[in-house]
Amino acid sequence: MTQPALQVKDLKTQFFTDDGVVQAVDGVSFDLHPGETLGIVGESGCGKSVTALSILRLVQEPGRIVNGQILFRGDDIVTMSDEEVREIRGKDIAMIFQDPLSSLNPVLTVGFQIEEAIEAHRKVPSKMALSRAVELLKQVRIPAAESRVHDYPHQFSGGMRQRAMIAMGLANSPSILIADEPTTALDVTVQAQILELLRDLNQDLNTAIILITHNMGVVASLCTRVLVMYAGRVVEEGPVERIFKEPQHPYTWSLLQSIPRLDSDRHDRLLSIEGFPPDLIRPPHGCRFNPRCQFKIDRCLHDDPPLMNVGPDQDAACWVTMRRALAPNGERRG
């Protein structure tokens, strides 16, 4: 086993609002290995984006990391000085965001925004920065990169903007790229192109990717490992084939049931998960998923399940697990 590129240990990020403390990320731990593609999935508001932002310490007021460690090359990002974090941002760990239009500065040219990403970490003559920007735009397959480098974001299409964002992220050849819903704002054909681009970058440059999405299909097409989050917690983790084939947490199972499948029987209705994600100021007692869980047992109401090994390299935080829930002889009360 190689040394992990990034280790997150018991991360807790909370938002101190007027209504109370929102426990947005509540004890998340995971390892990211070099060159790995890790997917983090979950509904809106489950804490996946806040987890990503916490890694680069980009959580805005009133949010704060209150506990945990984020180990990068042996150093803890949580306790670093602002300057040390700044040096990691964009150089070793880069991040791209959901909406490429609002994430690019409208009054600066695309080329300039890429150049400044380079110049933030290296002293280079501006001519070299420009040619590197053109090279990066070519790498993300922007046609006529030499002239488009002088364009403003509003002159780019949605897909091109996201490519430009990725080019910006790759400017300093980071070892980790965090992509927060990189395809959500794009239409389906463009989505596929962006995912293909990310896959090629992962294979050609060996960049480890953390892909944050609510879309199971996107995870399936890019990731090797999946982390399923619910209400600020990791509820299931494992290799992508295992999770898709034999999900053990009822939440993961429900997410997979809610994907339309071309090969399934037409009469099957799509399953939606009843109810809403819980209030993270006052989370439910016991398992946080219990108010929405159709397989819950008494123990789930007062006893919070930890992540437990449920299969080869697969962990789930559930007292029941789908293996038992779907067992024909109904041996559910365990």
Partner: protein
Amino acid sequence: MFTRGALLYIGQRLVLIVFTAVAVSSIVFLGVHRLPGDALLNERRPDPAAEAALLHYYHLDLPLPEQYVRYVTGLLHGDLGESYVNRGVQITPLLLREARVSAEVGAAALVFTIGLGVLLGVIAAVRQNTWVDYLATTTSIIGYSMPNFVIASLLFLLFGVALYNWTGGALFYNSGWTGSYGTLDQILVPGFALGFPYASIVARLTRASMLEVIRQDYVRTARAKGLTSRVVIVRHALRNALIPVVTILGPLVIGIVTGSVVIENIFGIPGLGKEFAASILNRDYNIVIGLFTFYAIIIALANLLVDLLYTVIDPRIRY
């Protein structure tokens, strides 16, 4: 820098400005001639023959339409006529010289308005809800609650009297303006009095605008790139935050132009504002009409400049 479309736009605007100038001066021309009494009311009445000669000299004996045509023809050639009170003084060169004096004070006021306003606004936004923010916000509330003549009087007390007594007469603000150009201290004090209320408005607007922009996604992107917070604030946040500030720059320039009438009279600055009050009191009608026309042109040009400034600051705007 300018495209063909932009040059065409500027050309159209300049033509419109000429029309505006003619329209404004026509309204004032007709209005002034409707006033009771005539231009020579303040004269010691000489004999009727001399008076008739004077009226003839100024073409005031002609019918009004004919006077008007003469006036507009002169205006289009840049000739605003001759002063009624100080005979032989041509108005166009007089106003141009006074405009230079006013421009010195106005430029200082504009520097205070934008420089001080943006600085206070940015500092308040970056240090939101700290004592720095409260201090900057309170300062700007004081600024726009006080009329400029009150600020001017207080500055007089402070720099003209208090500073004089404190330094034993070595250092003080000397009111009154000798020669056509002011010294730096002569410009700065009235410039501050004129600009401070508007600086306060700019500060409030910049603060609100910065607070909004700082939460934008692209500012987060800039931070995620590893830029220093100074670069993030100045290059990414401030530039976008200034777009609404540029919008109110047009009205603010008008405020500075009209405010200069008060300030120049208080500080005794021989500029357009002082001439404005004096010419009205002296019934020097030609100067009154000329000044209105001048002000119309200055304000129109300032607005054109602001509109062009948009394209510099926001590349999405093209004419």
